[in-house]
Symmetry: C2
DNA sequence: GTCTATAAATCGATAGAC
DNA sequence: GTCTATCGATTTATAGAC
């Protein structure tokens, strides 16, 4: 892509980092499979061959993006708030931080949540994601066993719906346009009910 | 695809209906963009050309599948339980029936929920889906105005998280393997909280 | 309604010059 | 680090015989 004066147009800085950023953007809007290397290089303002000089191919780009999202998510589990306190308190911390990461790394996490496991990189990412969800499910079970929550439904179902609710944020949140109270709001809804009956 | 005796293998009956069923299955497992007409015809046990005799192309198949899912969802809004009673009661009815449809039409609804609006058919489906969600959001607002629920968060956020929670069922439910109480369980979790604090 | 054969375009990826 | 040129495979879709 060139301007009318013939100068090249590349959006961010240089380096492989900005190429990854551009690629993830294309993957999100066109879908990974529907995005060609031609699309990527056009969006980056270089030729296809130049793009191959920085990344070995499409899947390497996907893998790098998924790794970034997963690393951010797993980092939450290492924080103090996720390791100390009651199971319920740790759960609330993790949920709040998870929303924070969703907003902060929106395109990367969005890509991760769309992965279905059709390539080697996707299966790798899917396994790590399931390990993350499994840790949350364990914590839900501990909160129930500790008598911290009313035992309404199966802990397994609760954990799945909790993840589903939290992850659905990527479907409508807009980068840079999210309220600073969103993580706390989502956490409150998740634990106190979306529409709790009014006290009589 | 042939058996060792040379007979053709086609899974269900004949007709365009079974071809659509086969195609949707392939779309789900491979992803729509990654599925070729060759893949579809191989899965159906006929040649590519024969497939084109029944459907004008890939997008016609997608459109037919999305229409089926949307018709089932909108039919819920016409039921008595969705039109009479308090806003909260109507909401609960819709959510329960929505889970029922998700399980009943799992592959079709799964496809619908993956649509991102990159083709004309996808944009059409996305608009109808948003209209469905908008009706639910309106109902949530009415329930809040009527004082039926504790006004905890913005009704808009509540409606989005409600849809997110409900739709996430397609991520893990397995056809024919879902508990008959699932719709009621999901509804209870959605309205009373995923992990409501235990009464002191 | 099914088939073989093929057109026309695009795909991911590479060779090799500068 | 960027480019032009191209390879071989695959893609959607059609022509036309049976």
């Amino acid at each position: 892509m060139t301007t009318e004066t013939g100068r090249r147009v590349r959006r961010p800085g240089r380096g492989t980092g900005s190429l990854l950023e551009v690629a993830v953007g294309e993957f999100i809007t066109r879908g990974y499979d529907a995005t060609s290397m031609e699309d990527l290089s056009r969006a980056a303002g270089i030729t296809k061959s130049s793009f191959y000089h920085h990344f070995s191919g499409k899947e390497a780009l996907l893998r790098a993006a998924l790794e970034r999202a997963l690393d951010r998510l797993f980092a939450i589990l290492d924080e103090d708030g996720a390791r100390t306190g009651s199971p319920l308190a740790r759960l609330r911390h993790i949920v709040r931080e998870q929303v924070e990461v969703l907003v902060d790394e929106l395109p990367y996490v969005t890509l991760l949540l769309r992965v279905r496991g059709n390539t080697e990189s996707e299966r790798w990412a899917l396994e790590r994601r399931r390990a993350f969800d499994a840790q949350i499910a364990t914590l839900v079970g501990e909160a129930v066993d500790a008598g911290e929550v009313r035992a309404g439904v199966e802990p397994t179902l609760a954990a799945r719906l909790l993840s589903g609710l939290v992850n659905s944020v990527v479907e409508w949140v807009r980068p840079g346009r999210s309220s600073s109270s969103l993580p706390e709001d989502v956490t409150r809804v998740a634990f106190e009910g979306i529409l709790p009956a009014a006290a009589p």
